[in-house]
Symmetry: C2
Subunit: 332 residues, 2 copies
């Protein structure tokens, strides 16, 4: 295993030191493993908390800041954070208007956030609501999930709902908005290679030189099928078509993300975006906004995913609103 680390068991603690050193506008609770905004938002505003296993950076810590999250709980690599972490973060960021938990649909995350919400309500009277993101059209149930997995749409949801929270909208309003986003977005991913979890020391799965995994999960969970390696155009078709088969986007405006899995260079991500955009346009889908790069990764996995979100004027205007985080930054 070749990695820029000190020791497999120290990866998360050491990475948190680097995040703190790099970003003066973040505050890191090293013992509790939570990343906060250095300057909390105003009293009376709903706060957003997310989190999950590490190894998906910039998700979630890179999306803490003005216009997105208030706190991100970091679990060990590909391991859910604990209810304790989530409860502490929830109590810490509550500004009296309630807290929204943004949870990717993995059984451990869902259970632990549920427990944290109950504890925060009971012990500190925090009003907590939850959105479980489940946008991955690849498989119905999966290795760590009942129902669809939560993947790339989480990035778009954190941006859009984060912008709405800054406007002072109510918790109920943000829940409704989150459900709208979750209902209107779909994703599909693929892998050319496995990732290697530091604690395991070897690739999560074997993938022969002439094959790829279509529909792979962000922890290397099996996808729909393993098929012969294809060119970028045919890979793009295998990602876009299941998305379009699952939801009729009509000719509505959409936000499209072409996301890298961590080990794929940007030149390939742009090349793939060109293919994806052309296929979507051929199907009459209108791309109003896009995002190309590494936003929800799987350690060093080579591969990519496509997310398509149908976005009306409300969603587009929230998307365009200013954001200031390590991972997304524009407009203020």
């Amino acid at each position: 295993m070749k990695k820029l680390i000190n020791a497999p068991e120290a990866v998360l603690a050491d990475a948190l030191k680097g995040i703190e050193a790099a970003h003066a506008d973040l505050r890191v609770d090293h013992a509790g493993r939570v990343i906060y905004r250095a300057t909390p938002k105003d009293q009376g505003t709903v706060a957003l908390v997310s989190g999950g296993g590490s190894g998906h950076e910039p998700l979630h810590g890179g999306f803490v800041g003005f216009g997105m999250l208030d706190a991100a709980c970091a679990g060990e690599v590909f391991t859910s954070p604990t209810p304790d972490q989530m409860q502490a973060a929830t109590k810490e960021v509550d500004r009296g208007a309630g807290v929204l938990h943004i949870v990717k649909n993995y059984t451990g995350d869902v259970m632990n956030f549920e427990m944290a919400a109950e504890l925060a309500a009971m012990e500190a009277s925090v009003d907590v609501k939850t959105i479980v993101v489940n946008d991955d059209v690849a498989v119905q149930d999966s290795l760590y999930t009942a129902g669809r997995r939560g993947v790339g749409l989480t990035v778009l949801l954190e941006k859009i709902v984060g912008a709405a929270a800054e406007q002072g909208r109510s918790l109920d309003d943000l829940v409704a908005l989150s459900e709208k986003v979750n209902g209107e977005g779909r994703s599909m991913g693929m892998a050319l290679t496995s990732c290697t979890v530091p604690a395991a020391g070897k690739p999560t799965f074997d993938l022969p030189d002439d094959q790829m995994e279509i529909g792979v999960g962000i922890h290397g969970e099996p996808g729909r099928h393993r098929v012969p390696l294809a060119d970028a155009h045919h890979i793009a078709e295998q990602l876009v078509e299941p998305i379009l088969a699952d939801l009729d986007f009509g000719s509505s405006p959409t936000i499209v993300m072409l996301n890298g899995m961590g080990g794929t260079p940007l030149i390939e991500l742009y090349l793939m975006y060109g293919e994806v955009a052309a296929i979507l346009q051929k199907h009459g889908v209108t791309i109003a906004r896009n995002l190309v790069g590494n936003y929800i990764t799987s350690l060093d996995m080579a591969g990519c995913s496509v997310t398509v979100l149908r976005a009306d004027d409300e969603l587009l205007s929230l998307w365009d609103a200013p954001v200031e985080t390590a991972g997304l930054r524009w407009g203020r």
Copy 2:
């Protein structure tokens, strides 16, 4: 070779299609292989042109836009663009105040930009000046270079000099500023793995599982030495110490970039940044600003580089000035 491409010979053309599809504020000349701002800057303002082999994205095309470059010439992967491309770009962006060529020190790039400058001066009376960036302390001469290679400092120079150009400074003034930045900055890189050039179809060099290349070039050129794999702390020492041995930074403020080579996940880059920052601080170096991520890459190479730039108030204020490009964006 596992890559998200259609064919090795189509990589650049296809990637340019994706860049155009993704960024409405860029204009791509597909035949000429030049990336321009969609909206040219004002008449009477000096324009900045850079370029080089592809495979280093976001450099240089990702740095075209307000506050940085006016045009980027894209060569084939790891191959210099031609004088024709550079001459066309130079004539196209000239707004009557001259054009600065920003060139990384590789023999092909230097020769071709020189020829382009002469042609543009002769045929179109464009006043062209050149800065050759040569910040890599690893080796004196290298596979494609006489003298030191130009690497990570190019990113910082394009940002700083780009900001100064927006202020309306003269060409001579920008040349002096470029020389100042080039004199005050140093870089050093390392690789855990080779990159694979699409046209070659196999890794550029072999690197055993228990070894790493210290001082590697951004095309996989040999570095200072091949040594046993070490932990992140000791890798950081092997990058920072040659930089500090080459230039005495004293306790002046610096801008530090921890750059990923393309195949290294962000969690490892943050971890490395934490180690680099701690070592610099131990040596009394003050970090005033930083950048962590993939900015000048080597296709899918796993590894990283460190750049340290001594930055007085002038350089820091130009660094902080607004920038709106695909690869760097803040503040407006």
